[in-house]
């Protein structure tokens, strides 16, 4: 049990550091950044209660906001993602989720990609809408959401696959 908690704490700190020092400064083509810190919310243990997940996600988002001077944009998006995670899990994993038997380290890659994609698009849409906060700039919101989502999905799926221990 302690081992699991320690893993998650280390993952939390590492993801925040990587996000604020590297990923926020990529600016591919001038504006495209991946937001990989959501991996933490995605891989949070399913058996733990949703209350814990909500609180930890809020803390995670707030930390990212603190580092990037963005008000509460990341916190809001993370909390929404944390709250809707069961629905996304059910849609992408189906029966596996019903029986609470998903192991992220050895799931089918197809299911994993669906899961990451749904979560990323939801998270990024809320985040960029709040960041730009102007309905007349809807094209800009959609553009940023689309390109950043693609980047985030690719990087996140790669990270999850590379760092899971026992994938066949």
């Amino acid at each position: 049990m302690n081992n699991v908690v320690a893993t998650h704490i280390i993952r939390f700190i590492l993801l925040v550091l990587i996000q604020v020092t590297i990923c926020n400064n990529i600016n591919f083509l001038g504006f495209i950044n991946p937001y990989i810190y959501i991996i933490f919310i995605l891989l949070f243990p399913i058996r733990d209660t949703r209350i814990q997940l909500l609180l930890v996600s809020f803390l995670l988002g707030m930390l990212i906001d603190l580092f990037s001077d963005s008000g509460g944009v990341h916190a809001a998006a993370s909390v929404v993602l944390a709250y809707t995670r069961p629905v996304i899990l059910k849609t992408s994993f189906g029966m596996l989720y019903e029986h609470k038997t998903i192991k992220f380290s050895n799931t089918d890659v197809g299911h994993l990609i669906t899961y990451v994609t749904l979560a990323t698009i939801l998270h990024h849409t809320i985040m960029f809408s709040l960041e730009i906060f102007n309905v007349s700039n809807i094209i800009l919101i959609l553009k940023k959401t689309l390109f950043s989502s693609i980047f985030t999905i690719i990087v996140s799926v790669l990270i999850i696959i590379l760092f899971s221990r026992n994938r066949k």
């Binding site: 550091l17 604020v20 020092t21 926020n24 600016n27 001038g30 504006f31 495209i32 950044n33 949703r50 209350i51 909500l54 609180l55 809020f58 988002g61 707030m62 906001d65 603190l66 580092f67 990037s68 001077d69 963005s70 008000g71 509460g72 944009v73 916190a75 809001a76 909390v79 929404v80 944390a82 709250y83 709040l130 960041e131 730009i132 906060f133 700039n137 800009l140």
Partner: protein, 273 residues
């Protein structure tokens, strides 16, 4: 009472979600309005420490560029010095002109963003070094922004690439003034709004700070006119400016403190009453 408690317990996840979402939404809305104290900003020990550690590694990769910028600036200053009309005796220093109105502090940029819609920089000087809100921040090439939040050792700078920024600027050739805004589209361009359409604007003209506020002195470069068009109302121009500064590559900055600010502000307040 029992029923209320039951309701709370049954819906505790949803209620917690609403609470947390509400807090973050409130912070977001607050961050979109200018001139209010913010709780969430990167001028603090934790973020400053992390950015400082990584900056000390990162700046080695940037040394060559920063060196070039310094050499360029030296070249410019040398040119001014050698071509000045008065002959300068190196032993004679006229103290009435040196440091009379503006106090300059140097700082290193720890964090710089230019792809968001509200961009901030984090610098490694703070209250301890005499930096306060509303000090101007420039580089050798042009303006960068205005100091926003400060902690003991760090400060955040409201970049000119921020929708909340509105700096007073003018045409170098004719003194027609306008307000500097950013539409969030390109990190190389800002817009000068509300310029009277009597102004003889030409593509390539220089835009500089106006010196009407006590933030920037008069005549600091901003950029050159790239294009301009008449507003819908027909009375004013909106000028598209290409910045002199490369906002994506800022290493060292100068912070300007106007020593006469208090006097000016007191005077302005008196005349307003």
């Amino acid at each position: 009472m029992q029923q209320i408690l039951n309701f709370v317990i049954r819906n505790k996840t949803f209620l917690l979600f609403l609470l947390l979402f509400g807090i973050s939404l409130a912070l977001t809305i607050q961050s979109h309005s200018y001139h209010r104290s913010k709780f969430i900003n990167s001028a603090n020990g934790l973020t400053g420490g992390v950015y400082g550690t990584f900056n000390s590694i990162e700046k080695y990769f940037d040394l060559k560029d920063q060196n070039n910028i310094l050499v360029e600036e030296n070249k410019y200053l040398r040119k001014l010095l050698f071509n000045s009309k008065t002959t300068i005796d190196s032993t004679y220093i006229d103290t009435t002109f040196i440091g009379s109105r503006y106090n300059v502090t140097i700082a290193e940029v720890y964090k710089n963003s230019y792809s968001l819609s509200n961009n901030y920089l984090t610098i490694n000087k703070g209250l301890k070094h005499g930096i306060k809100q509303d000090f101007g921040v420039i580089t050798s090439k042009g303006i960068v922004g205005i100091v926003d939040n400060t902690s003991n050792n760090y400060a955040t700078v409201l970049s000119i690439l921020n929708k909340k920024s509105g700096i007073n600027a003018k045409l170098k050739s004719t003194n027609h003034i306008g307000s500097l805004r950013w539409n969030g589209k390109s990190a190389q361009h800002v817009q000068l709004e509300d310029v009277s359409n009597f102004a003889p604007v030409k593509v390539g003209d220089t835009i500089e700070t106006g010196g009407e506020s006590s933030i920037f002195p008069k005549g600091i470069g901003i950029g050159s006119v790239e294009s301009y068009l008449t507003d819908i109302s027909g009375d004013t121009f909106t000028i598209e400016i290409k910045l002199f500064n490369d906002m994506s590559n800022i290493g060292n900055v100068y912070i300007l403190e106007d020593l006469d600010r208090q006097e000016i502000e007191t005077l302005e307040n008196q005349s307003n009453e």
